[in-house]
C-alpha cells in the first residue's frame, strides 16, 4: 500500500471511529448514570492539618472536610440548607415546641461493627454538651432514651430555630459509640457511622480513610443530598494529603499525583482553564469578606466616622484584589437567590459608593482630627492582608490616618478580644453565611459582639429572629437586621468571595460543596 493509501485509510478509520462515538453518545444514557467505577484510591489535597478528628470538638474547616465523610448526625442540611433526617427517621415536635422525639434508623452500623442505638445517641449528645465547640445544643434540658431506637429531647424554652442549629455542620453533633462518652476532647476512638472510616493520621502529611464495607445506606433517598441522602463509597481508599504550598499543590495535580485540590489559587486556575486533564469548579457563594469596626475605640466609636468609612470604600477594588478576581459585589447579608436574600435593603445608599466627598463631609461632622485608625489583620489568610492594604489606601485618600498592624492569626484573635487598641479587623466569614442569618447575627450580638460594643437594637432583633415561628417571619426580621447593620456600621460587608476547586479530568461526580464529599465520586476508566 502506498503512503497516500495509508493516509486515506487512516482518515477513513478516524471518520468511522468519530461517527461511531457520536452515534453511541446519542444512544447511551448521558452523564454518570452508567459510568460509576468502584475501587482505587482518591487523593484530595488541603492546605492545613485538621486540628482534631473529634468532629464535635472542633469548628475548623480543615477538620470538617474530613470528618463529615466519616461521621453522621441525626439531622443535617440538604443541598438547599434545609434540615433533613440522616440517622433519624424524622422528628416529632410537640405542639408546645418543648419536646422533640427522634425515632432512629434501625440497622445502622458503627465502624467498630456495633449497631447504633438510642443509648449511643444519648451519650453522644451528652458529650456534645460537655465538649462541643458550639453552644448549639444549649436549649436542651434533658435527653432521654425512650426506646431502643428512639430519643426524646426536652427543651428549656421554645426555640423555633433548634432544628437548624441541631443540623449545623460547623461542629456537627455527630453520633459516636457510647464507649466514647467520657473521652476528653480530641481523644475518641474516631469511630463513626459514615461511608468512610479513619485508618491513619500523620500530622503535616496525610489522613487516610478506608471504605466502610458495612456502611448502611439511607435508601429513603435516590442519591446524596447535602450532608445526607444515599451515600455510595466508590473508592476503596481516600487520602487527604496536607500540602501547605499552593504552587506544589498545583504541580502535584498537573503531574497526576493527586486528584482533587480543595482550593486552587485563582491565577493558577486561569492558567489551567484550557488544560484537558483538569476540571475546574467555581463556587461563588463561599464566604463574605468583611471589615469589622470597633465601636468602643475612638475614632470608630463615632457612628458618623464609621459611616464615612462605609461610603469611602470601593468594594469592587477591595474584593477584586483580595480575592484575586473571584468575587461578587453584593452588599446584602445573604447570598443572592438563597431563602433569606432580602436584596439591597439598607445597602442601596451605602454599599460600594466610593464617595470621597461624602466621606470627607462625614469625617468633618464626626470631628475627626487625624487620630490613627488601626486595622488588625493577618498573613495566614491572604484575603485578610490584601483587603487591609487596599482599604488602607482608599481611606488614606479621604484623609484618614490608617495604620496596618499585620500579625499572625492567633495574635489577631487575641488583639480583637481587647476592648481597645484596634479600630478595624478584616475577616472572612465562611460558614456563617452558609448557615444563614442566625449564625451571622449571633457573632454581632451576645456576650462578645465582633464590634465590641453592644447595639441594643440589634440584640432585640436577634431575639426576634431566633424566636420567629416561621421562615417567613424570620425573613421579615432579617430584613430589619440588614437595615440596622447599614445604620450602625459596626461591620462593613465588602463582598462575596468565591472558592475555586480543581480535579483531574477523569474524576466524575464531584460537585463543589461546603466540604469535599468523597463519596459518590469515582474515577472514569
Amino acid at each position: 500500500m502506498t503512503m497516500l493509501g495509508t493516509k486515506r485509510l487512516t482518515s477513513f478509520l478516524r471518520t468511522l471511529t468519530m461517527t461511531s462515538v457520536l452515534a453511541l453518545a446519542a444512544v447511551l444514557p448521558t452523564g454518570s448514570a452508567w459510568a460509576q467505577v468502584a475501587g482505587g484510591e482518591l487523593v484530595v489535597v488541603q492546605g492545613s492539618n485538621p486540628p482534631s478528628l473529634d468532629a464535635m470538638a472542633t469548628s475548623s474547616g480543615a477538620s470538617r472536610n474530613i470528618n463529615l465523610n466519616v461521621y453522621e448526625t441525626l439531622y443535617g442540611f440538604d443541598e438547599n440548607v434545609v434540615p433533613m433526617p440522616i440517622l433519624a427517621e424524622g422528628v416529632n415536635i410537640s405542639e408546645d415546641g418543648l419536646t422533640y422525639v427522634f425515632p432512629l434508623r434501625q440497622g445502622v452500623k458503627f465502624h467498630n461493627g456495633d449497631e447504633m442505638k438510642a443509648t449511643d445517641v444519648k451519650a453522644s449528645l451528652e458529650r456534645y454538651l460537655k465538649v462541643g465547640a458550639t453552644p448549639n445544643l444549649e436549649p436542651i434540658e434533658k435527653i432521654e432514651v425512650t426506646g431502643d431506637y428512639e430519643v426524646t429531647l426536652t427543651m428549656k424554652r421554645v426555640t423555633p430555630t433548634f432544628l437548624e442549629a441541631f443540623s449545623n455542620p460547623r461542629s456537627p453533633a455527630v453520633i459516636i459509640p457510647e464507649e466514647d462518652i467520657n473521652a476528653e476532647a480530641g481523644k475518641t476512638s474516631l469511630v463513626g457511622t459514615g461511608p468512610y472510616k479513619i485508618t491513619e493520621y500523620v500530622p503535616d502529611s496525610h489522613v487516610t480513610l478506608e471504605k466502610f464495607a458495612d456502611y448502611t445506606q439511607d435508601t429513603r433517598y435516590a442519591g446524596p443530598d447535602g450532608f445526607g441522602g444515599k451515600k455510595t463509597a466508590y473508592f476503596d481508599k481516600v487520602t487527604f494529603r496536607i500540602m501547605p504550598e499552593p504552587g506544589a499543590q498545583v504541580a502535584a495535580l498537573e503531574a497526576g499525583e493527586v486528584d482533587i485540590l480543595d482550593q486552587i489559587p485563582v491565577p493558577a486556575a486561569r492558567r489551567l482553564a484550557n488544560d484537558a486533564n483538569i476540571k475546574l469548579y467555581e463556587n461563588l457563594q463561599w464566604a463574605f469578606g468583611t471589615l469589622i469596626l470597633n465601636a468602643n475605640e475612638p475614632p470608630t466609636d463615632n457612628v458618623k466616622f464609621r459611616e464615612a468609612v462605609q461610603v469611602a470604600l470601593n468594594m469592587e477594588e477591595i474584593v477584586g484584589i483580595a480575592s484575586e478576581g473571584l468575587f461578587a459585589a453584593n452588599g446584602g447579608w445573604a447570598y443572592p437567590g438563597t431563602p433569606y436574600d432580602v436584596g439591597d435593603v439598607g445597602a442601596a445608599d451605602y454599599y460600594n459608593k466610593h464617595d470621597a466627598e461624602k466621606a470627607k463631609a462625614l469625617l468633618a461632622e464626626a470631628g475627626y482630627n487625624n487620630e490613627p485608625f488601626t486595622i488588625i489583620t493577618d498573613n495566614t489568610i491572604p484575603f485578610h492582608g490584601r483587603a487591609a492594604v487596599v482599604i488602607a489606601e482608599q481611606l488614606k485618600a479621604v484623609g484618614i490616618n490608617v495604620v496596618i498592624n499585620q500579625v499572625d492569626f492567633p495574635t489577631v484573635l487575641n488583639l480583637r478580644m481587647q476592648d481597645t487598641g484596634w479600630n478595624g479587623w478584616t475577616l472572612t466569614m465562611g460558614i456563617e453565611p452558609y448557615l444563614g442569618p442566625v449564625a451571622i447575627v449571633s457573632t454581632l450580638t451576645g456576650k462578645r459582639p465582633h464590634f465590641v460594643k453592644h447595639d441594643p437594637e440589634l440584640e432585640a432583633l436577634y431575639q426576634e429572629l431566633i424566636t420567629g415561628a416561621t421562615p417567613e417571619a424570620r425573613k421579615a426580621t432579617f430584613e430589619k437586621v440588614q437595615k440596622r447593620l447599614y445604620e450602625y456600621f459596626g461591620i462593613i460587608k465588602l463582598g462575596d468571595t468565591g472558592q475555586m476547586q480543581a480535579s483531574r479530568a477523569n474524576i466524575e461526580g464531584f460537585k463543589t460543596f461546603r466540604i469535599p464529599r468523597v463519596y459518590d465520586i469515582w474515577r472514569a476508566n
Binding site: D204, A251, L415, M417
Partner: protein, 315 residues
C-alpha cells in the same frame, strides 16, 4: 577523649537550660495562645477562658515553668494541645524525615561544594575559578522555595520522572524513599553548597601556597595526591566547621523545603506549633533542636582532633 566528651556534655546543660528558659519567656511575651486555634473566630471570652483553664495555660509563668522543668527531669516533655500525642512521639515520628533530608542534602552539598572549591582553588584566577564561584554564588543567592518549585515543575510535572512531594519511609520502600527525597535534597544541597565551596576555596588557597605543598610537588608527587592527600587534609578544619554548622541547620529542620515538598519534618512541626501556639511542642521541639546543635558541635570538635593532631595534644 572520654573526659573531653563528658566535659562537653556537661557544658551543654546550661546551654540547653538557657535555650528552654528563653523559649518560655518569648512564648509568654507573644500575644495569643492555643485557645484561639481551638475556639475559633466566634469564641466568646468565657469559652476562651474555659479552654485556657482546661489546658492550664491561665496559670502563672513561674508555676508552668516549674512544672515543665519538673516533668523534664522525669524525661517527660509534655503533651501536645492539638496533635493528640506526646511531644516526644510528635518529634520522634518526624525525625526520620528530617534525618533523611539533612543526611542526603549534607552529603550532596559537601561533595559538590568541596569539589567546586578545590577546582576553583587549583585553577585560581582562571575562568574555571570564576565559573565555580559564580555557581556557588547562584546557589547561595537563589531562594530555595523558588528553586524547589522549578525542580518540581521540571522533573515532576514536565518530565514526570520524580514525585512532586510527600515522604516514603526507607523502611517501607527504598526506591520510593530515594525518589521522594531526590528533589528536596538536591534543592537544599544546591543552596547550601555555596558556603562550603567558598570556604573550601579560601582554605585551599591558603594551604596550596605553603612550603610542604611545594615540596610535595617538587619531589614529583602526582597532582591528585598533592591536592587530596596533603593540601585538602590540611585545609579541612575550617571546611568541617562550615559543614558542622550546615548540618546543625539542616538537622533542626529546613522549614521552607519541607513545606514546598510537603515533607512532615521537625521544622514544619515547630513552625506549625508556633503558628498555633502549641506551647509544649514548641518548648520540646526547640529543646530537641538545640540538643542536636550541641551534639553536632561535639562531633565537629572530635573531628578536629582526628584531623589535626595538634588539637588532640592541646586537650
Amino acid at each position: 577523649m572520654l573526659l573531653f566528651i563528658a566535659r562537653r556534655l556537661l557544658s551543654a546543660i546550661p546551654v540547653l537550660f538557657v535555650v528552654s528558659l528563653m523559649t518560655f519567656v518569648i512564648m509568654w511575651l507573644v500575644p495569643g495562645d492555643v485557645s484561639a486555634e481551638i475556639g475559633g473566630t466566634d469564641a466568646t471570652p468565657e469559652q476562651i477562658q474555659q479552654i485556657r483553664e482546661q489546658l492550664g495555660i491561665d496559670r502563672p509563668l513561674l508555676e508552668r515553668a516549674v512544672n515543665w522543668y519538673g516533668n523534664l527531669l522525669r524525661g517527660d516533655l509534655g503533651h501536645s494541645y492539638l496533635l493528640n500525642r506526646s511531644v516526644v512521639d510528635a518529634v520522634l515520628e518526624r525525625l526520620p524525615v528530617t534525618l533523611s533530608l539533612a543526611g542526603l542534602s549534607l552529603v550532596l552539598a559537601t561533595i559538590m561544594g568541596t569539589l567546586l572549591g578545590i577546582l576553583a582553588a587549583v585553577r585560581h584566577n582562571s575562568w574555571v575559578d570564576q565559573g565555580s564561584m559564580v555557581a556557588a554564588l547562584i546557589g547561595l543567592s537563589i531562594p530555595d522555595f523558588w528553586f524547589g518549585l522549578v525542580l518540581i515543575i521540571l522533573f515532576g510535572v514536565t518530565l514526570g520522572w520524580l514525585p512532586t512531594g510527600g515522604f516514603v519511609p526507607i523502611t517501607e520502600d527504598v526506591l520510593g524513599w530515594v525518589r521522594c527525597m531526590t528533589l528536596p535534597a538536591l534543592t537544599l544541597a544546591f543552596t547550601q553548597m555555596g558556603v562550603i565551596a567558598r570556604m573550601t576555596r579560601s582554605s585551599m588557597l591558603d594551604v596550596l601556597d605553603q612550603d610542604f605543598v611545594r615540596t610535595a610537588r617538587a619531589k614529583g608527587m602526582r597532582a591528585r595526591t598533592v591536592i587530596f592527600k596533603h593540601a585538602l587534609r590540611n585545609a579541612l578544619v575550617p571546611i568541617v566547621t562550615v559543614v558542622g554548622v550546615t548540618a546543625g541547620v539542616l538537622l533542626s529542620g529546613a522549614v521552607v523545603i519541607e513545606s514546598v515538598f510537603s515533607l512532615p519534618g521537625v521544622g514544619r512541626l515547630i513552625v506549625g506549633s508556633i503558628q498555633r501556639r502549641d506551647f509544649p511542642v514548641i518548648q520540646g521541639g526547640l529543646l530537641v533542636t538545640a540538643s542536636i546543635f550541641v551534639f553536632v558541635n561535639i562531633v565537629v570538635d572530635m573531628l578536629y582532633g582526628w584531623l589535626d593532631p595538634r588539637v588532640r595534644d592541646e586537650r
